[in-house]
Symmetry: C2
Subunit: 338 residues, 2 copies
DNA sequence: AGTTTTTGTCGACACGCGTCGACAAGTAGT
DNA sequence: ACTACTTGTCGACGCGTGTCGACAAAAACT
């Protein structure tokens, strides 16, 4: 492994000149810089990361705290990770996945102080989130994917629930649907609450009725929801799902009962990771969840913050786009609900 | 952040004594060690990772190279990551997810040489894998999840295809099935090849016929496979799936055609990550893929290697267990294939 | 022409730790 | 009682950087 000293010798300059030529923190004559860069290339030199971290106090490493639920990292986390990781790499950082056991926040703090990590990305944010409070107190830079009830000036990237919901509702409206139902859980994460109220609002605007079907995050629950719908709300012509797992069970239920999607019933999913879309048949019409982009944004926002670009925008909302696939169709003229 | 010097002062010993008390690399009087440990606890001291890496040349960081496919990290990778990450943490290491762009192996080498990473975990191993050749030449310690055609003495953790297949086939045999079919892709990864031949072998032993249904890694392809089965092999009473995504489409197809699983047709999946199991209805009978354990094992094997425990076992096969859920049943007496 | 500012470079130092050699004190073997 | 080894501790050094202060040379002002 080539060191800075070797580069300096080859380029005929001092060691510090090499550093400055690379970092740009002091002005260097163009010709000298070129000589240095040539030597760097020739020796395939790359600064020793630990030495840099030691001397500069910067590790250029981000930790993505993944709440270790039952199955460890959640499925959707995958796309966030991919995006965050890619953006971090683009800016010379690394991303460590940190399956954080429960409330081991003090550990995070220690690692932040020991220079191991420069900042933290948080997922699955609750309305009230202890982790957020902790990190703020500990002065560890962080960015959220999701947001607390009152995020204030904290950095976050989140779904634009209102815009996403409107895209879906407006499309159903275009297709002629007037009586709809929606699948939602009532987890304390806040996503559901925000989604549900945005949906009711959007439906109201279009003068559509919207019945709520309560589900939990399981396929079987989606199937139960279909059965409930089938019995109680037979005039409903379209369903909006706010839970990805339940969606799949819901489709199974429809299949089982001989209800054809999309001919008899339209279905649109608003909270479905890419991986699930390709798993269903027919392919789901969705307002897609731009998780990759959100992950990217989270990294960028966090890095801006770490590097002291406080002036930059540090809160983002992503709506996603309507992607029409195979589960939506025009309402049938003879349907009761028309 | 407390430093070694502060601990030393508090404990009334020299700095190096603190190091030795913690590492155990030299004998320290029991009483002294206790005093040191007390001071460590009191100050909440943790060695500065970069300093350690600089001085000792050990970063205690593992990189998990995830082939960035179309969707980045693959779904199953999730469980591997969780397992590998947990095991690494247990042994004081960290796991960096490295979405490796194509053949940027030289980058890996550079980072390994620069002390950034101590070893590499590889996934989605092909029969002939350039990355493996590269790492061997570059002398970067690595462990595979999966294995090349001729792994020799290279470290790996892989599925025990023979045992896993036998568990499934034997169970179907117990249920009275004699004519089966199986879903497989023919990707070059080697998994499919090994699985297919193990299955044919196991079926032969039990004197069962086994028709192959070729699929690709898509839900719609699984649906097509069902239709093919329905038309061509109507006497088949059970299906073994070797591809998780196709499985879900297969079930949709059965629903669509009014074929009841498990009453009319049994289905058992051998290569399905946990996340997919909870997504299907009825819940899948599987020989589960112990991905979490495999991830753990990969980390442990790699760390053993890094730490020079060459004598330890560095190749493992995991079969998984038969988990009976809702997609298998006794063959129906009146079925043609009986 | 003299003074101040900017540009370009260098040497020195600190970051916090692992580890080597030295050495005093104790133990074991003759 | 002398040597030989072991135990327990310490001080010193080096790992490869980032960065600060110094300073000569050049440029920009009076």
């Amino acid at each position: 492994m080539a060191t800075r000293a070797e580069v300096a010798k080859l380029a005929g300059v001092s060691a510090s000149t090499v550093s400055y030529a690379l970092s740009g923190d002091r002005s260097i004559k163009e010709e000298t810089r070129k000589r240095v860069l040539k030597a760097v290339a020739q020796l395939n030199y790359r600064p020793h990361f630990a030495a840099g971290a030691l001397a500069g106090g910067k590790s250029k490493t981000l930790a993505l705290l993944s709440p270790s639920g039952e199955f460890g990292i959640a499925l959707i986390a995958l796309e966030y990770i991919n995006g965050a990781s890619a953006a971090a790499r683009d800016r010379g950082y690394h991303l460590v996945i940190w399956p954080s056991q429960e409330s081991e926040m003090s550990e995070i703090q220690t690692f932040a102080e020991s220079g191991m990590i420069s900042g933290v990305i948080l997922m699955e944010i609750k309305f009230k989130d202890d982790r957020v409070d902790y990190l703020k107190k500990a002065k560890v830079p962080f960015a959220m994917i999701g947001r607390t009830e009152n995020p204030g000036k904290d950095s976050y990237v989140d779904r634009d629930f209102i815009a996403a919901t409107q895209l879906g509702i407006d499309y159903l409206h275009t297709l002629g649907h007037k009586k709809i139902a929606f699948l939602t859980t009532d987890r304390a994460i806040g996503v559901d609450t925000r989604f549900s109220s945005a949906l009711l609002e959007a439906a109201k605007k279009k003068k559509m009725t919207a019945n709520k079907l309560q589900v939990v995050n399981e396929a079987s629950s989606g199937r139960d929801a279909f059965i409930e719908l089938h019995k109680k709300y037979s005039d409903v012509t379209a369903v909006v799902s706010l839970n990805d797992i339940a969606t799949l069970g819901f489709i199974s239920g429809a299949n089982e009962y001989g209800v054809n999607i999309p001919k008899d019933l339209s279905l649109i999913a608003l909270d479905t990771p890419k991986n699930h879309i390709e798993m269903s048949w027919p392919p789901l019409t969705t307002v897609n969840l731009p998780a990759y982009e959100m992950g990217r944004a989270a990294s960028n926002i966090l890095i801006d913050q770490i590097e002291g670009k406080e002036n930059k925008q540090n809160q983002e909302l992503h709506a996603g786009d309507l992607v029409i696939r195979g589960t939506t169709a025009k309402v049938r003229p003879q349907a009761k609900g028309n």
